[in-house]
Each structure stands twice: as C-alpha cells, then as structure tokens.
Symmetry: D2
Subunit: 401 residues, 4 copies
C-alpha cells in the first residue's frame, strides 16, 4: 500500500526527478510544446516549472553560491506565485517555443547538480522541508503531465495514445457489492503531523459526522452506461441548474474521451482508443456528472470527512480495495479551509489557500498518481465542470433512524 | 423585530400583492421594460412572474373553474421550473415588449380575483401552504425588483434614483465596538418547523461549532475606505486567486456604484448620487471583496452556523442591532444542502435545491427586504462575483486556546 | 413615380416630421424602448436622434435665440458624429429608459417650434441646405424605425406584426421575363446637381461599362424556394468562403424571418406571420446569399454603374417596374468613394464618407422607404452579412462577343 | 529585375522545394509546431500543406502508380479546398504535434521523388500547368512561413529574431521626392497570357483611369513617426469609422511590432529588436492605418489600375525603385473579380475567387517574397485590420483640372 501518511518516508530527490524525465521521454519535442487548452500546460513547461520551484524557493534563498541558469526563466516558469514576481500569462504557455526541450534538460541538470550539493551538506530543517515540498510538488506535476498530454493527444483527428506509465496500473475491482455503515459522532480528520503533508491537509481537527453509509467500490463504466441508457444526460431533474446549463452548452452525453462509433462506445485512454470496459471505474467525469449520477442512483456523494473516516476503517482490511490508485473520487464538500487553517509563511503560502473557493474536493488518488504520493488526508480540488483529470466517484447515503 | 420565525404569522395576500404594485408605481412603462444584464429582470417581468406562480402552482391544479388569462404566459413568465414546461430564455427578457404594463396589471387583477375566491373557501392545507410559499416568493421578487431597477437606472449616463421604498429604512449602527464570544459545542441550526420556511432552511440539525467570536456590528463604509486607502484592491496577497483575477478583469477599485469624482467618493443609491456615508454599512460588495477585507482585517467571514447561533443569542438583547434590515452578510459557507435535506415534491421542489453549488450563503436581510420576510434561518445565496444585491459583511475570528 | 431626382422638390418640414410620429404611433412605450441587437436602435431613440440633428446642426449654430431642451441630450442622442462631441455607446441604447416617450414628444415639439421659426424668416442658403439634409436624414431613420421594430417584434416567442405603413405598398411584378441588354461604353453616373442628394452620390463622373444585360424584374420568393430546393444553402461551391463560414456559424437555411412550420414556409412580415408568397420579391437576404443565388443561376449581381444606367433607360418605359419601391437591390460593387469624392465640410461631413469600407452598395429603394426619398443615384450600403434591412436582388450577366 | 511576367520563365521544381527547407532549417521542432493566432499556421504545417498540394492535384489524378504517403494527410493538410474533401479546423493547426518535423521531411522526400518521376516523362500541358501552379503556391507559402514565424517569435516575452532570409534584402530608397503624373484614359490591365499567372490576375481587360499622380517612393518610417507625432492615432477625423473602432479596441498607437522603450521606438524584425530606421519603408500596417495616413497627408491610396499603369511606365527607368521587393502596397481597391473573371475548373478553382469579398488588394511584393515570384499584375489581398504581413503604402492623388 502506497499511501503517504502510512509510511511517512521522505521522497528521494533523484528518484522523483528521474521519474519526470521518464514520463517525458516518449514525447517528441513537438508533443512537449503544445498547450491544448488554457487549463493545461505543455510537458516542457512542467519540466521547467518544477525545476524553477527548486531554484526559486531553495537555491535562491539558501545557496549563496548558486548561479541562476537563465534570468528570464524566473518570468517564464512561475506558475501563479504573486510573491515571486511577475509571470507569463498562463493561456500563452503554448507559444513559448524557446527554450526547447534540450535546453530544458540542461536546466534540469544544472539545478539538480546544485540541489544535490545543497542537500548533501546536512541541510537545515527548513531546507529539508522545502525540498520535501518541492518533490511532492513535482509529483503533482507528474500527474499533470499525464493529464495534459492525454488531452493534447486526444485533440488530434487520428489520435494515438501516450503509452505505458513508468509504474504498473492496479487491477480494477468491479462494481460495489455492499454499503459500509458508520454511526454519527465526532471524528478527527486532517493530517496528524507525522511525515509530509500539504498545508491544506491540516490542522487535524474535529468534525461532527452524521450516520451514513458508503459504497465499498467505485462506480464502474458499466453502471455509467446504465445511467446513460436511462437518459441520464437528458433529464434536467437529475442535475444541478448550473450542471444542466453545462450539459446543454457543451453537448455532454458521455464522459470526456468517450466516442460513439458504429454502435459502440469507445474511449480514448493512455493506450489509445479502445472499447469501454464495463468493469473499470468510470473516469473523466465532472462534479456535475458525478452529482447527477448519485441523484439518479438515489444516493449522494460522500462528504470528505465521511470519506476519510471510511478509508481509515476499511482500507487495511481489504487488500484489493479501490480507495486509492484508480480514480480520484468527487466529494460533496466544497473546497474550504479547515477550521484553524493558516497558509504557510512566504511565497509557498500561496500553494493552496488562495484556491479555496468555487472548487470541490476529490479524495484518494488515481492510476496516474506517482507511487509514494497518495495519502488518506490528501485534498485534491477542481472546478465543477472540469473533466480532464482522472476523476470518478463512489456513492454514499444517509442512514436515517 | 420583524424576523419571520419569531412571529410565524401568515402573510396577508392582499398586503403582499399590493406592495409589489407600490414598488412598481414610481416606474414608467419604459423603466419597467429594460433588462440591464442577464442576471437582472425587468420590473414588469417580476410583476408577471410572481402572478404566474399563483396561476401555475395554485389555480391550475386546485381551481378547476379557473380560466387562464393568456395561454402564452406559461411560456413567457416561467423563470426556471423545468417541470413546468419550456420557457423563454432569461437573457432575452428585456426584448419582450408585449404584454405591456397595462396588460400585466390586468393579469394581476385577474389572478388576484381568482386567488381570493380560492382562499376564501377554507382552502386545504396544501393550498394554504402553496399560497404562503407564493407570497414569500413574491416578497423575494420585491427585493429583486429593487436590486434590478437600481442596476438599470445606474447604467444611465445621467442617473436618477428610484426614490423611497414603501417602508422605512432603519438607522445604521456605526462601526463595531466589541467581539461577541462563543465556546465550542454542538449546536442546532435550521428551521424548527414553526411558521413558514423555505425548503433550504431545513431540516433542523446539529453541527459542531468551534470556539469563535463575531463582531457586534457590520463593517462600515468608513472602514472600507481605510481598506481602500491601504491599497486593499491592489495587493494580491489579500485575495483568493479567482478574486484577484476578477479584480483585474473587471477593474474593481471600490464597491459597485461607487464613483470617484472631484477627489471624493460618491455612491449611487436609491435616492440618487450622494457622498459616501462613513457610518453606513458598506454594501454592494462581492464575496471576493468581503473575503479580502476580512483577511486584511486579520479576521475571517463567519460560518453560517456561527452567524445563526450568534443572532439567536444577541439579537433580542440589542434593540438597535444590525443583524437584520441593513445589508445581507456574506458568510464563509458555500451553499450546500443541510444534512438530510430533501427538496419538496413536484415542480416547487426546484425552488432551492438545484442551486446548491458554486454559490455562497448570505445571512440576515437588508433594507430592501420587505417587512415580515426576514428570518434568522434564511439562507440567501449568490455567486462569489455578484455585487448588485445589497450585500455587506460582519467579521468573525477563531478563539484559540 | 416617386424618384427623388426626377422631381427635385424640397421636402416639407411638417410632412416629414409628422410622418415619423405616425410611424411611432402604433407602438407602445414598451415597444419604443427596446433594442433587439447592437445594429438596431429603439424607436424612441430614432425620434430623439432625428430631432437632435436639427438642434445640433441647425438651431445651435444658426438660431442664437434657441434654448436647448435638455443639455444631456447632446450626449444621449448623438449617433456617430465624433466632431459633435462624446456620445452614448450604441449597444446600450436599449438601457436608456429616460427620457420616456412623452418627454421625447415634448422635445420634438420644442425643436419643431424653433425650426419653424428659423425656416419662416427666409433662411440662408446654408440653413436651407442643412434643413433639407435634416429631412432626408429623418426619412432614412423612418425606414430604420420600420426595420428595427420589425426585428424587435420578431424576437418575441409569439410575434405580432407592426401593422400597415402610413403609405400604400405597391404591387409586386412577379418573376423576370427578359434580359435588358447594354453595349460597352463610357457612361456618366452619380448625382448631377439638380435637387437634393447625399454627398456620397457625387460627383457625377465617367465610368467604363462593359457589355452586360440585366433582368427586368427582381428575384422572387418562388425562385428562392427553387434555390433552396436545389440545396443552395448546403453547397459550398456556390458561396464565397466568408459567406459559407457565415452559413455554418449562423445556421442559415432560408432568408431572415422565414420559418418552416408544418411542411410550409412562413414568413414574418409587418402584418405578422403569413405563408411565403411565391410571386413577391425575396427580401431579408444578405449579400452573401444574393451572391450565392446569382452564382447558382449562372449570373452575377449587377455593378452599381450598370444598375444606374439600366434604371435610367428602362424605368420610365415600364410603369409597373420594380426598380424602386419593392426591395433594395444588392450590387457587386463594394462601397467606395466615387472618383473625386470629397466629404462635406464640418460635422455633417461624417455623414457617409467614413463608412466607405467593408460594405456593399444597394440600389433602388424599398416598400418601407418613405415616398419622396428614393432616387436613381442613391447609394445605400450594408455589410455582407446583414439581413434585417429590406434587401433583395436583381440578376445581371456579361455579354461576351 | 525579378518581376515574374517579364521573364515568364518556369520555376525549377527542386529550387523551389529546397528553398522551403532552407527557410525551415533555422527553426527547431518546437518553433515549427506553434500557431500563434488563427490566421497563422505552423511552419511544419506549411511544409506539409505545400506537399499535399502536389500529392492531391498532381500525383493523385495523374500518376496512377503513386502510393500516398499517409492517408490521414489528406485531412490534416488540406487548407480550404471544399472540393478536396473535409479538413482539419484551421485554428487548431497548432495542436497537431504528429507528424513531427522528421516525418514531414520524409513526406516531402516521398512526394519529391514521385514528382520528379512524373515531370521527367514529358508531362502533359495540364500537368505542367498544375506543377507550375504548385510551385507558385509553394512560393506564396514561403512568404507565409516568414510572416507566421515572425509573429510567433514576437509573442515571446524575450523575443529573438528569425535571422537572415536565404536571399538578399534590397536597399531601401528613402522618402519620395516627386509625383509621377498620368492623364485620364482607357488602359489595359491584368495578365496578358505570357508565362504563369494566378487566375485572379486575369482576364486582361480595359479600365477607365482618371488623371492621377503617384509617389515615386514608399512611405518611410520617418514619415510615419511624423504622423504619430501629429497625433495620427488619436484623431478620429483621419480614420474610417471601422478603423477608428479598431484603433480603440486594439489599442493601436504604432505599427505592429513597434515598442516604445526608454523614449525610443524599437521594432521587432527578422533580426530581432532594433531601433526604428527612419529611411526604411514602414511595414506591418493595416489598410485602416494606410488609409488614415494618406488622409493625413492630403492624399489617398492608389487604385490598383493606377498602380499597375505606373509600375509599367516607371519601373524599368529606375533601377533602384521600390515598386517591388520592399513592402506590399495597400491600394484603394476592394478585392473584386475583374470583368469577365472565371475561376479555374475543378478544385484549384477555389484558389482565389472565393475570397473576393471584404478584403483589399495589395500590389508589388516584399523582401520576404521569394525571387522569381513577384509580378506587376499580382493581386495580393488581406482584410482591412490585418497587420502581420509585410505591408506598407505608396501615396497617390487626383489631378484636377
């Protein structure tokens, strides 16, 4: 089991950095350059931005001997850190042809050499913590690389897949067979201080949970096909008002990447086009779709506290479970700060807090999440209409006396 | 004290209906026709839509003898009830010149006569409940009439005000002088079943509240001017990321309706343009602005449970309080269903539930809320960028041990 | 025959001004307020703007005793005269509820009284010429009133027509039966100095015309139905590239205001919805459609010099002709200045010249053109995608040796 | 002198094809992949599309033994030929990462081998003519490659230039010193049948030209700076109405690629950023700007017939003239078919005719036009707002008796 908070071990710098390069390796210079929508970024931008993170937050303040690789990179590869200075407009990342991928490889090597030097000499606790953050940040971008390139490749009229990830994909579990029940009570959730966590996972705090039950398995593609067959995408009463408007405006009639051809549903995956597998967890659905499905199934999405309580209770008992490693799971919880939340001090304080509005929390992890990155307290988040991440759902419902 | 759940009295049909007409009376046929933005509606549309509500949900199903006024109105004046059939596109309400205001007055009279006949003959409990809902619905639209016409009049290059409301405006209380403290604990919130409530106010249920304190008064225009003077609209670190993007895109530098002229801030109000009054509660601010102000003030917005607990404890002790009747108060709570929430059965079930996403809750009421409509459990809601409603804020903060 | 340059008579001030009010009379205050698209203007705006023209260009400079009605009107009712000062944004004309129609009637009366006084006292030649221009300007807006209100009324889900114009509609002539031939040669076109003309009609000058023939009648709705039946709207080879893009983007499959209902084509006209009349001239087509039709018919649109030569030769011989009074006729001529063209001096010089780009010329006049306004040298102009004016076509083709 | 219709020689297949590759050679795979705006295309797309032209119009119909390189290319690299089947959406050309530049080089080699085989065996007149068209088509795309990559490189926050073209840039001539006068008369213009011409250059035909004079030199950057210093971009009376709207909407205050830095105007050129050279012809201006400049200079743009007459009379006398080889010259002529114009039969008939609306003609050629491609009868065309092509102007004016 690869959940982060169980093992609480530090990531290895070289392992993580090498994994990024292994993810980029099958992609040509052309592939690594395009940005297929404003939400996505080019592969080569991800490679450079994760490097910029180490340069800006570690080497700049803590390695006086460090020579920046190119002064312009501070502008080109800042993502959203206002405190780190001005930055290039996000929707125009696909126009930056220079530096090319060879120069970015040089940039990575330059920073890696300096980072190894810095880490080699018994770094301070602050440096160690920032390095740990930089590695988890890079793992997040590893998953983004996969999401973004999948989207870019899908826009081709004759799409070819990305290919295999550098790590094995776990078997899917099939449809749910039972509901796991929980009594009402005050529970503790959030990161407990052992090992690494992002700032948005804390502080650990109490919440009141009402009696509920939660499905032991994810919703599958087969179940989703049943929803579609029952006109799920054509019945406004199943949808939130904003969701129904999105269905109409975007012409949704199936998850992202599904295509109806010759009477059969095909899905574009990392391996290319293939028939939909009924036993696999459904993925690439928006919150709106997850919410509508749950209503159709006479259930609801779990709150994040419910999810966290359940995973703690059941994950270890069920070695083949799908709480992690398959698809992110939409919750009914808008992304808000935990009680007592305080952003980290300095520019890294912009990491999570400033996004805590108009998004919903997803829990678990997915097949594109790098091993060692997942955690039971992880709070992923996306807007309600986003579909390009590997998101699915698990049902929950109230227990009423 | 005009809070609804205290008095729990039924509204009087003629009173409410007449109030709508009194609100429209100062407005010409031209004024009542325009729609100044997609979110707003023409006055004459509000007058017709509230009438359509009685015709559709009361007279249609429960008065077999009733003759509809015009068959087309079912299409023209449905707002968003999918179950009530197709409807006219919302952004095009301003193009509907016919019927004119005289015919709409006839429509109202026609429906009023039928409604009085229906209500006169000891109506069933269902009819009585729907009539009560219709009247509270009409009161909501009374406030919308005021909001929407204010916006329309403001778009004129030489704006004139609306004039006095049919009810008195309460005195403002001035700035806050103390924090009201509350211990952590399990509290009950939501409507308790006495008197009328909208479906989204229930069920009454328990929540865990952490120790907090809340300001006894609203934030004033004077305090807001201090925030502006301290570059509040120019410091990204005070804002949520999406809020900062909105500041840039919309060029916000003050609340809606504020204009800087000859070195002084003027504000367009119902009475026309006037200098900003430092002691009045600030209004026409978005959630983004309220949130940024709170961060600047080293505080936060209250959660809705906190607000409801506080109002219960302090309102009756402080006869001049501003919990109600001044401005709606943004909370830190995304608009989500209460645990155990079930929408009402039938078309009126579309009233609230389907909007419970991507909005934030406001509590209290405002000077444009008709007397008798306000309630301590009322859950108003708007998107985070909206500014045309009469919204302000009250600060809260954690008590840490 | 009502062609302007034949009679060369001055228009009567009271006649023209009264006709505007007769056009507005059937329209309610609500009808007169809406703007259904950025290209159109509210009726009450037209009534005020035409009045502003007299106030600004006649009374202001030439009647020292004149008291402006309201100083704000200079801003509100300027259409596009940069030299006359700043002005209200065109797309927001529909938001100006005040002044209402009663006050606009007062404004018209106020200006009329002053104008009559000015004109009564043997005005200078300059004043007389400006007054003549003001009246022809007002006649142009009379036609715009009809076009614009037709568009506004058409947007209603249950549309009712405008009703009869204050002047009689002429009978349609039916389809063309012969080609009128002309030899190559140098011809003179443009206004010859007798009677009123707009500046864009001159100077009279020579052009070289190649041998051509032109249809004696307009293209009819029956012929247009044949074009549609032959897939005219679905064959890209018939269309200009930009026209085909517009067909796709706008979903054109028939002229504006045509609706297919119960297997029959209905058309919304000034009298309301009615079946398409096969013998009537087709109207409400864009230049793109006229051009595609001509290509389908193995012909082309006439150049404006060809049209002007032909009308001079044939109009008087054929008392029932349709050169004037039915529909404007698209030409193959982009709207460019005539050789030697010079705009008038002063603000009225902005009348025509600054629009001489990216538009095409239409010739003739239509059933909504006020009597006395039409002229054989008149150069009307619209962009290639516009359809809300009363535009049709007449075919031409080369004569090759 | 490199004008095409003087020499009338056939282009050499290998020369032209090699030149394209020389133009692409300094560009990396990343550079060749981006599309910086919908009007532009990636370099690698140009390389493939020009190849597709030979494959589709030459090899497909005329070389039965030819094996297409990849069947998908027919879809990917069709630009706008409706008759050649469906095609990929133009604004999405930048998303097509595959094929990469190596595979496109293979594609070019594959087609080149087949083309040489086809041309080797005494091709029919039709094949020879289509091959000639294909080579001139490729030369047009060579210029587009330069325009498009210049635009893409300019979007970089720290832009670097493209570098030298494979051919020499001619010296600029400096400002105009005299007007060349012409009497009125009937002239012949258009291609006369000798050597290659595009279909839009014919038929040769008569036009009536009024007495005019035309400047012997192009307008220079120094003159443009004078226009700017005289508030040329801030005076609406100098502009067409649509041009003024564009100035406001786009914030134009200088030609495209000009930047004001440290009190000096810099311009981004193929060689990178450099100070504006006052003696060089101004380039990268829209028709709107050229027209406004001419009005400011109390002149006008020449008609295309005037330009063609003048170039015929003066070019050979003035060996250092700038009629060709510096910048394209905007004319006052909307792009319309010549009298008697008939598009070529078949898919290549879509080459020019379907674009003859809403554009203006440019005459001459520019420094990025490949040697051997320019012609005195060439009709280039762009919309009135376009600025990314190498366009400048030459003044003309009427001679009045």
């Amino acid at each position: 089991m690869h959940a982060r908070n169980t093992t609480a071990r530090a990531l290895d710098y070289c392992d993580v950095r090498t994994t990024t390069e292994r993810l980029a390796a099958p992609l040509s210079a052309e592939d690594q350059t395009v940005q297929s929508m404003p939400d996505a970024s080019p592969t080569k931008w991800h490679r450079a931005h994760t490097t910029w993170f180490f340069e800006t937050f570690l080497l700049g303040p803590h390695a006086p001997w460090y020579e920046p690789f190119r002064s312009e990179y501070a502008y080109l590869f800042n993502s959203y850190y206002e405190a780190a200075g001005p930055r290039h407009a996000r929707p125009e990342r696909g126009l930056i042809t220079r530096p090319g991928i060879a120069e970015i490889a040089d940039y990575r090597a330059h920073v890696d050499a300096a980072m190894l030097k810095l880490l080699d000499t018994s770094p301070s606790e602050e440096v160690a913590a920032l390095a740990e953050l930089g590695l988890h940040h890079e793992q997040q971008h590893q998953e983004l690389i996969v999401m973004d390139i999948k989207h870019a490749l899908s826009r081709h009229p004759f799409p070819t897949g990305y290919g295999d990830l550098p790590w094995a994909r776990r078997e899917a579990c099939g449809p749910s067979t039972r509901w796991l029940g929980f009594d009402a009570g005050i529970v503790e959730i959030g990161h407990d201080g052992e090992g690494f966590a992002f700032d948005n996972e804390g502080p650990r705090h109490t919440e009141l949970v009402h009696a509920f039950e939660i499905a032991d398995r994810l919703v599958t593609c087969g179940q989703w096909l049943d929803f579609m067959a029952d006109n799920g995408y054509r019945r406004p009463e199943l949808w939130m008002s904003a969701g129904w408007a999105e269905v109409q405006a975007s012409g949704w009639e199936a998850p992202e990447y599904w295509h109806h051809e010759d009477g059969e549903w095909q899905v574009f995956g990392l391996g290319g086009l293939a028939p939909v597998d009924r036993s696999a967890p459904v993925e690439h659905i928006s919150w709106f779709e997850a919410d509508a499905y749950a209503r159709w199934a006479d259930a609801r999405l779990p709150l994040e506290a419910e999810w966290e309580v359940a995973v703690g209770a059941y994950q270890s008992r069920d070695k083949t479970s799908d709480w992690h490693g398959q698809v992110w799971q939409w919750t009914a919880s808008p992304y808000s700060p935990y009680t007592g939340f305080r952003p980290a001090v300095g520019a890294v304080g912009e990491y999570n807090g400033k996004f805590m509005v108009n998004q919903y929390v997803l829990r678990g992890s997915c097949h594109a999440t790098p091993p060692g990155h997942a955690s039971d307290t992880y709070r992923n988040f996306f807007p309600t209409h986003s579909r390009w991440m590997f998101a699915g759902l698990r049902l929950a419902r109230d227990i009423t006396a």
